[in-house]
Symmetry: C2
């Protein structure tokens, strides 16, 4: 079924470079003529897009080596999105009504060259916005999690963390410990997200609290935070532990930081004596992503996993949603339905 | 051929816990009755023993998790040694004249239960004191060095480093960069030890100098130093780089440090964006050690590698040799011939 797009559509643009955390005061909802697909392109009506944490650094000018280009004032924001093909240009292989995933979120309609069609592996199209491939690759390919091991997920209520805890449990972890910033989130983590224990940040010295939660030490870490929490995790690491670094929320969420570096002080003597591995992870290869989707779909259908997310309706609320992401207001992935 | 041991023999004991670097003022050469082997033991006349850097922390009280017990005042020092069986107790499988390697250096004669007989794999018995298995495991098993890559070895003139540079070259590294503390050692490193370039510490900001020596970045690091040099290596790491941590000379060789921790500040954001691995390494498994010895023996016989070491004759000079090790006076492994 084809539909006629409106004459104008809305999108979110950066109006000024934030000096701290980005939010509504740095963004504008603008109305633009509906774009027209060229040859091989399709016009997609976005059903939902992810409010993703990398926008902290992208709106601040980016960092060298980052996988995404920085945003300048006047640019339209971007990020993972799922939508429906409305019209197809000459030579496009997709047809109106096809569901696709692409990277042009933050707008009601997007013109995309050759987006990836959804193949029904995941029962809910929005689940394509789940950043679970990172959590899955960290626990399997990089850390090689073995049944019976103890896992610590810093930032355990976030987009990656809220899936990492559940995946660790499904892969046979004996004990899964998380960290987060509020008692309300901690409660949801133990009730719904597979965590055995949660350490609250700001509730006394983090290292002491983590050691209490993991008295026998930690084998595998999925670190979304860095800084003090990563240091504490390294101190609690058992011989042969694998620490996978996937995020730097400690500096990303701090208005005082530029977000472009994430310093941590580690004791290399401890790393040596414990044969401990730290490994940074960005980007997941296609084979692992496909494997993750197969398993995620099966787990979702059997009810063994949930896709924790918050749906925010209306593109005009997207700028506020970005601020709320950095304020740590939500559990799981933050999804806007424009 | 059997020989009669003397009635008394000399060994080196710790007399006081050093507040800084250990040396002659903390050690004594003492004369003791020649020990007598019991059942299953042999009396070994030590031909040579290694002056090894771990004595820095062992004489200072040790650190939790270390593979060796700490030394207390009154204890005889220990470490890798090679010697010849003089007399064998009842039931010992070795015979007088057999060459063995064991861990009771720092004495002229040692009683050892069941030492490992040398099998002739290495052409020079002293080469058993080479700490090359660590360098070999770091470059092969841990880093998976590929031909054409660029390697940085911090502390490149030390016992491990002086072999790591040569091994990296033999394994096909395109460029091998080292660091050291003096121009004289730097010259030997490029002339004899396979290094293309050497960065001197204390000669301006280390990171700037390392980046000049490795303008296209570094793929593999064997880090004997930690601290500023490790940080600089992480800054120069190319995407997918592997940094193997094997030593902490920056704090081990500093009289101001206790030697029990080796702090380094790293930027986890960089580690994530570059998919960079840091891995601590202590202890090498038996299979890798055996593989190393086979290759080391073959390389020594073909003249493709040297065993860089300094031989110091006389057990009475051993205390001063320990001080000289920490002063960085020598290239390669420091070996005492008691």
């Amino acid at each position: 079924m084809s539909e006629t797009p409106p004459g104008t559509v809305r999108e979110i643009r950066l109006t000024e470079v934030p000096s701290g955390l980005p939010g509504p005061e740095h963004l504008a909802v603008v109305e633009v003529p509906t774009p027209v697909p060229g040859a091989g392109e399709v016009l997609v009506r976005n059903r939902c897009f992810q409010v993703f944490p990398a926008l902290r650094t992208l709106t601040a000018g980016g960092v060298p080596g980052a996988p995404f280009p920085p945003l300048r004032p006047g640019d339209t924001l971007f990020g993972p999105a799922v939508g429906e093909v409305v019209t197809a240009g000459d030579g496009a292989s997709l047809r109106p009504g096809d569901l696709v995933s692409h990277f042009q979120g933050w707008r009601e309609y997007a013109v995309v060259p050759d987006p990836e069609p959804l193949d029904g592996t995941l029962p809910d199209p929005a689940a394509h916005l789940a950043p679970g491939a990172t959590a899955y690759a960290a626990l399997t390919r990089i850390a090689g999690l073995r049944p019976g091991e103890t896992v610590f997920v810093s930032g355990g209520a976030g987009g990656v963390g809220s899936l990492a805890g559940q995946i660790a449990r499904l892969l046979g972890a004996a004990r899964v410990i998380g960290s987060t910033g509020s008692a309300a989130k901690a409660e949801r983590m133990t009730a719904e997200l597979g965590y055995d224990a949660v350490v609250l940040r700001g509730d006394g010295p983090f290292g002491v609290r983590l050691a209490e939660a993991a008295p026998d030490g930690i084998d595998v870490v999925v670190d979304n935070v860095g800084g003090e929490q990563l240091r504490a995790a390294a101190d609690a690491a058992r011989p042969g532990a694998r620490l996978v670094l996937v995020g730097t929320l400690a500096t990303q969420l701090s208005a005082a930081s530029t977000g472009a570096t994430a310093p941590v002080e580690l004791d290399t003597f401890r790393l040596i004596l414990g044969n401990i591995t730290l490994r940074g992870l960005t980007g997941v290869d296609a084979a692992t992503t496909a494997e993750w989707r197969e398993r995620f779909g099966a787990w979702l259908r059997s009810g063994s996993i949930s896709f924790p997310h918050t749906r925010i309706p209306g593109i005009d609320r997207a700028p506020q949603a970005l601020r709320e992401l950095f304020d740590g207001r939500h559990v799981g992935t933050v999804v806007v339905e424009p």
